[in-house]
């Protein structure tokens, strides 16, 4: 009975021969390691998806609130000068009041 382990060392894949009685044990340890990595990846993916779901609710609220804030400023007679500061609109009708 024999088993080959494969490891990445300094960017290169290095294979090692494991023979005799320890081959079975080495194969089992490698399988446990693989399972743990898969479980870790799954758990990280689930955590990431949960965080993204929470963030998407805030992003939607952020968009609506941003629109509303701009609308409030426009309704109050302001306009945004070149995507920068908000300035009072010089409106002829308002000046005549």
């Amino acid at each position: 009975m024999y088993y080959y382990t494969a490891e990445r060392v300094a960017g290169r894949v290095v294979k090692r021969y494991v023979g005799g009685a320890v081959a079975g044990l080495a194969a089992r340890m490698a399988a446990v390691g693989r399972d743990k990595r898969v479980a870790d990846r799954e758990s990280a993916r689930a955590a990431r998806e949960a965080a993204e779901a929470l963030d998407s609710a805030v992003a939607e609220l952020d968009e609506v609130a941003g629109l509303l804030a701009r609308a409030a400023l426009v309704a109050a007679g302001y306009h945004q000068h070149r995507r920068g500061e908000w300035r009072k609109r010089r409106d002829r009708a308002e000046e005549a009041d």
Partner: protein, 178 residues
């Protein structure tokens, strides 16, 4: 000599899509939207319908994530949120201010969530660490932006909107009966 054309007044939209469209046009500086906007912003139910549910669901999601099943943590988070909200709302806030405060509170929760997740994670890959770092940075930026917008609206728009509402109330009160 021809008189300059007055922009045609828009009606206050009754659907959520219509309201969003009106807000987008206003955001692009369309002055024809102003009368409809003023009417829309005067009514608290319009603002609540537009963003109230979003604020509540975002907040509830973060509270669940932070507290889980721990009732003590949940109560502590709710107490902190109430204090933060009271501090940001001030006295007699307008409906717009209420929604902007709701956004700031949700953003504050997002900052806490991002910081806690990053601090509590171990044995991360480079990509996972990078995701956490980007999330923290984005949450902090969004929170600061929410506070800045609240301050800007409070400084520039709220005085004008409050005067408009007050004028309308005087006018309504001044209408002779019959």
């Amino acid at each position: 000599m021809t008189e300059p054309k007055k922009p045609t007044e828009l009606a206050v939209p009754t659907t959520a899509d219509g309201v969003r469209d009106l807000l987008r046009r206003a955001g692009q500086g369309d002055t024809a939207t102003v009368p409809a906007l003023r009417k829309l912003l005067e009514d608290p139910t319009n603002i609540d319908r537009l963003g109230g549910d979003l604020a509540r669901s975002a907040e509830a999601g973060f509270v669940d994530a932070l507290a889980g099943g721990d009732l003590a943590v949940r109560e502590a988070v709710h107490a902190k949120l109430a204090a933060l909200r009271a501090e940001l709302l001030g006295e007699s806030p307008t409906p717009v201010e209420r929604l902007l405060v709701g956004r700031a509170v949700a953003c504050w929760l997002q900052v806490q969530d991002a910081d806690l997740r990053a601090a509590g994670s171990r044995d991360l890959t480079f990509r996972q660490s990078e995701f956490n770092q980007r999330r923290m940075d984005a949450a902090h930026r969004r929170y600061l932006s929410a506070l800045k917008t609240l301050a800007l609206v409070r400084k520039l728009a709220v005085p004008v909107l409050k005067v408009n509402i007050a004028r309308k109330q005087v006018n309504v009160a001044g209408v002779p009966a019959g």
